[in-house]
């Protein structure tokens, strides 16, 4: 369990930026979407999600705005900013390089 949590901690910003880059989303929707898309692997707690969202917003990578839903309720939607896009591209490249290198080592040698 601990290594998974550590991996999550390191990659939480990339996950959130990636998801928000696809469409503007609000907190509850992000938790549901992450769980669905990862087939239950990523189970975010509110205590992890909101501090991370606020950290990203403070860094200017995302922007929160209150919007009204069709049912009349208000939700705070997060949009990705230009700076956020640049960071996401950099993080994605970093991750792909790391993933490729890891695979080269971890995958069994073919004879």
């Amino acid at each position: 369990m601990a290594p998974r949590r550590e991996l999550m901690k390191v990659n939480v910003d990339s996950l959130l930026l990636c998801l928000i880059s696809q469409q503007p989303m609000y907190g509850y929707q992000i938790i549901k979407d992450l769980a669905t898309k990862s087939e239950g692997y990523f189970k975010f707690k509110e205590g992890t999600l909101y501090p991370a969202l606020h950290r990203l917003e403070k860094a200017g990578l995302i922007l929160g705005e209150w919007q009204m839903l069709p049912n009349g309720r208000y939700r705070r939607y997060y949009h990705i900013t230009d700076k956020g896009y640049q960071t996401l591209i950099a993080k994605r490249t970093q991750w792909q390089d790391f993933f490729t290198a890891m695979n080269l080592i971890i995958q069994p040698v073919r004879i």
């Binding site: 609000y26 907190g27 509850y28 509110e46 909101y50 501090p51 208000y74 705070r76």
Partner: protein
């Protein structure tokens, strides 16, 4: 525990400016609303849904602390702005500008303008060092009034000092309501200023400070204010609360040690120890007052929550 109590508990531990605090609470409130609806749609009763929701949300203190840390780090610009009054006072002494009345008036005007502007613009962290200096003339005027002829001194004691004390207390309490650490930040230079005043000596009457001694000590006084400026910049830039407390305590102790060292024996050991106690008193009293204010608030809101 009810959900509104949970949100109150988060609000109490956030210690952010009012508008951010409102935004955070509103956002968490809408999240809770969605979560409760989902749990009820899954067949849980209102009570079961509430307790499950609270379990999933986790510790209110932890959530508040993490959100606080996401907001607590100020930018370099804010750090510079917060340390500016200490820097200016440092330069005033280091460059011997303290002798010019014009410079002193410019400083006073600058301090008052910054303090009033910050106070009416959301009380940002950079305000509090300025606010501390803006209160010094209020204290200074009270002390000077005591040296007026007897009749006037009585008037000062009966009118000015109670009014000034009320004003100081209300400013300090409002600061504590925002965050007790800001109050400590505001009162941070008091032991250092008191240390230098004692080192300069009072020659019997308060206004008769030893000008020559002040002139000799001016570079070191300047240096001590520059040290305070560096500490304030580090305070604003740090994210964790414990680190902010540690920065204030350690830099306060080091600056007081610097005062004692350069005062060349004019500060006795008991005086030095009293100054350290005053420093800890100024740091800890706001924390205790905040605790009291919070307990009173909880007691007041408890019956309302019980009904909800």
């Amino acid at each position: 525990m009810t959900l509104s109590y949970y949100l109150d508990s988060i609000r109490d531990n956030l210690r952010l400016d009012l508008s951010t605090e409102r935004e955070v609470i509103r956002e968490l409130g809408t999240h809770i609303e969605d979560k409760l609806q989902e749990l009820k749609d899954n067949g849980l009763s209102e009570e079961e849904a509430t307790s499950t929701c609270l379990g999933l949300l986790g510790s209110a203190r932890l959530v508040a602390r993490q959100i606080y840390e996401a907001h607590s780090q100020g930018s370099w610009r804010q750090a510079l702005l917060a340390s500016a009054p200490h820097l200016l006072f440092g330069l005033l002494f280091a460059l011997n500008w303290w002798q010019g009345v014009g410079w002193l008036l410019v400083m006073l005007a600058l301090v008052l303008v910054a303090a009033i502007y910050g106070w009416w613009h959301g009380k940002p962290t950079w305000l509090f060092p300025w606010l501390g200096y803006s209160l010094l003339p209020v204290v200074g005027a009270g002390l000077l009034l005591l040296y007026l002829p007897t009749r006037w001194a009585w008037l000062a004691i009966l009118v000015y000092i109670p009014l000034a004390s009320w004003f100081l207390c209300s400013v300090i309490i409002q600061t504590i309501r925002r965050d007790w650490l800001h109050s400590s930040l505001m009162l941070f230079p008091i032991p250092v200023i008191a240390g230098w005043l004692l080192a300069i000596e009072f020659g019997g009457k308060f206004p008769e400070l030893s000008v020559q001694r002040l002139y000799d000590l001016a570079p070191w006084i300047g240096l001590s204010f520059l040290a305070l400026a560096a500490a304030v910049a580090a305070f604003v830039r740090s994210r964790q609360r414990w680190l902010k407390v540690a920065i204030l305590v350690v830099s306060g102790l080091l600056t007081l040690a610097m005062v004692a060292y350069y005062a060349e024996g004019r500060l006795s050991w008991p005086t030095f120890l009293i100054l350290i106690l005053v420093m800890f008193g100024l740091f800890l009293t706001p924390a205790l007052v905040e605790r009291r204010i919070r307990r009173r608030r909880v007691r007041r809101s408890a019956p309302i929550l019980a009904d909800s």
